[in-house]
């Protein structure tokens, strides 16, 4: 690892030259086109090649330990890597093609897993050859996750799982799933929960995709009917799953702060340009809808404030990337910025922002509508806006909890 600015400089050169040699130029700027959660185009040979090269280098998981197949880079080196990836319109496809493997499962296995579990699972995540899903929410356990009912019985040599999960992203295409299950029916809510990893290739698990307001989605309902998991696929302590699960949620929140990079920049059309095209500038060069102009400026300022906050928090952590206490703030702000952006974009497009399909609308217009709708989930999943505010109030501000009716 190298953190001095000199060493970082030479590392930057190394990255540049490696990228020049290994990133298929046909993919430049194509992240949005080839990487969609609901359908990654795996028939693209250049994409496959890029996944393979990046995975073998370990740079899809740059900060993970090299001994398990990660890149072994420091946070600052990883930042340099991401900057260079962004700079040439490249992207890290593994973040998508590993499902929840890189953003959530991997870091948690690295923290709580046995040596054997790490050796078994981490390298395949680094190579992008296993797709992970996560079974958390249930129909009656959303914000109140601890009330989950899906359970695993100890059958001596294996676990038997029964119950239903929902919002399991990519369950239908996943190889493995991390499931929060009740292993002690008598213990108080949070105390009887364990985290079990389960092989999804068995007929005792059924998945049903969920159609969303924006159309097709990667989410599924997942049914476990006497599904089998091995005894050594318990992650963390028996009945200690709440701790593991909470940690995973923190990773999720972190991944939704808007600070994860390496997904490629420059995909978004500038709001200003859309405004000029659809709304128009007046003789003074100002947006002719002055009301919209003020709200657009306000939004841009908020977006800027959000990205400056991410940068500040990264700088203040001095390269020491822990799950940050600020994640709840950043997640709420990220959702607000993205949702406002989508609303403003729609408003600028006017009736073109109401198109659903058909050739009367261009691709950007149709994408704006779907993004607007799917973005409503940003303040719901990974702990809703309300839950994040509870966390801020309690954990950051130290406000007391209410002990009677209010």
């Amino acid at each position: 690892m190298a953190n001095s600015s000199e060493a970082l400089g030479s590392f930057r050169e190394e990255v540049k030259s490696w990228l020049a040699d290994h990133f298929p130029s046909s993919l430049a700027g194509q992240a949005g086109a080839v990487l969609r959660m609901e359908s990654v185009d795996r028939s693209n040979p250049d994409l496959d090649l890029w996944i393979k090269r990046l995975g073998e280098k370990g740079w899809g998981t740059p900060t993970w330990p090299a001994e398990y197949g990660g890149g072994g880079l420091s946070q600052l080196e990883a930042q340099v890597l991401n900057q260079e990836i962004d700079a040439i319109g490249a992207f890290n496809p593994l973040i998508v093609t590993a499902g929840m493997g890189i953003t959530m499962v991997g870091p948690t296995i690295l923290e709580y897993g046995t040596e054997e579990q790490k050796k078994r699972h981490i390298p395949k995540i680094c190579l992008g050859t296993t797709f992970w899903s996560l079974g958390y929410s249930e129909p009656n356990a959303g914000s109140d996750l601890a009330s989950l009912q899906c359970r695993a019985e100890d059958m001596g040599d294996h676990w038997r799982l029964n119950g239903q999960k929902t919002w399991t992203s990519g369950a239908d295409v996943s190889d493995w799933c991390g499931v929060l299950v009740r292993t002690d029916m008598d213990a108080p809510k949070r105390d009887g929960i364990s985290f079990i990893m389960i092989d999804m290739n068995q007929s005792e698990i059924e998945t049903r995709p969920i159609r969303l307001i924006a159309g097709a989605s990667p989410f599924c309902e997942t049914f476990f009917n006497n599904a089998r998991a091995e005894k050594d696929d318990l992650l963390g302590d028996l009945n200690g799953g709440w701790t593991v699960g909470k940690r995973l949620l923190q990773h999720e929140r972190q991944s939704q702060t808007g600070s994860s990079s390496g997904m490629g920049g420059g995909q978004k059309r500038s709001l200003r340009d859309v405004a000029e095209k659809y709304v128009g500038l007046d003789a003074q060069g100002k947006l002719s809808d002055r009301d919209l102009r003020g709200r657009l400026a306000d939004h841009m300022m908020e977006a800027r404030a959000h990205s400056l906050t991410i940068a500040r928090i990264v700088a203040e952590s001095r390269g020491n990337a822990k799950v940050s206490a600020a994640a709840s703030i950043l997640k709420n702000a990220a959702a607000r910025v993205a949702q406002n952006r989508a609303e403003l974009l729609l408003e600028m497009l006017g009736s073109h922002g109401l198109g659903w399909e058909g050739e009367e609308y261009n691709a950007d217009e149709l994408a704006a509508v779907r993004t607007w709708l799917s973005g409503k989930a940003m303040s719901i999943y990974g702990g809703s806006f309300e839950i994040q505010n509870n966390i801020i109030a309690k954990n950051i501000l130290g406000l007391p909890e209410n002990t009677q009716r209010g």
């Binding site: 159309g215 009301d291 922002g353 198109g355 709708l373 719901i380 809703s384 806006f385 309300e386």
Partner: protein
Amino acid sequence: MAALTEEQALLKEQVSSWAREEAPVSKFREMRDRGTETGFDKGTWSAIAEMGWAGILIPEDQGGVAMGHLTFGVVLEELGRQLTASPLLTSAGTGACAIILAGSEAQKKEWLPGLSDGSQIFALAVDETPRHAAPDQIALQAEASGDGFILNGLKVHVPEGLSADAFIVAARTQGQPGESNGLSLFVIQGDTPGISRKRLRTADSRGYANIEFSGVHVARSALLGELDEAAPLLEQILDCGRAHLAAEMLGVAAQAFDMTLDYLKNRIQFGQPIGSFQALGHRASILYTEMEMTRSCVEAALEALDKGDENTAELCSLSKCKAGQFLHHMSNELIQIHGGIGMTDEFDAGLYLKRARALEYALGNEAFHRDRFASLRGF
């Protein structure tokens, strides 16, 4: 400002129960899933017409019941609650207003009975750009030719544009875009040669079309009102449409509020109905306050139309703006408070959200009417 009369209150109850039983949101969903050309169900429209609701604005001697805008708004609100799809607003509302306000005796005789019994569907073809603009921006040309006119140009996103039997078309007979003089209104049969329609598939699954006028020849008798002097009339017609839209929006939002309130009372998390959490309770209180204020504006605008009040334009912009603000806020809270379930297509929230934006943008969004309100107030 008056309260609803007993008659209006009874009608409200009648429309409400009819809509819940005969034209509920589940029926709209079925239609969406099946796919329709027109965006509404013909049987539903016939039933609406049979009950006389299409004739509410139309004088008795032309087949209507002449009960006025406030009464019409009651119907629109209750149908809005169920997202009941029909050409009521566009045809029996805006279309009829155009004929009533601008039509000659002959034109009234020709068109109003059909509008009243639902056999004629009218559409207002006004917008030429994706965002609603002030009338003076109209560019579609109607050139005098012989004893008639030839029309060339495009009207976009025309509600019920696909099923309309006739169009009310705002066109330029003199001058340039930017001038409010030189505008004229026409009523034109939909099957006139030179008119072509392109169906639009929109997020709210209703029937819209782009209408192209290519050398469309119409007789002088198609002119509605005075030549070149249509601007003030068009504003009046648009204001009717705005107040009607606001009434429908109030209904959509009120239903979204009720669904949310229901969920707050029945969804259990952390061992409590989530409505018992004070942060959500306060948000519900704030939404309710907004709803009450919006209702007052909507009813005041409709009443002003009935009375020919001098503040009508101001009140119509007020009601469209307030209804837009409330529906925007309410439709977002509908999803947010329902959480994951609100994101699924299976649940109705998405249908309300999509309809909300369509209504919000129609005939001017909040920004448009804030600007207009300020101009009307002289600043």
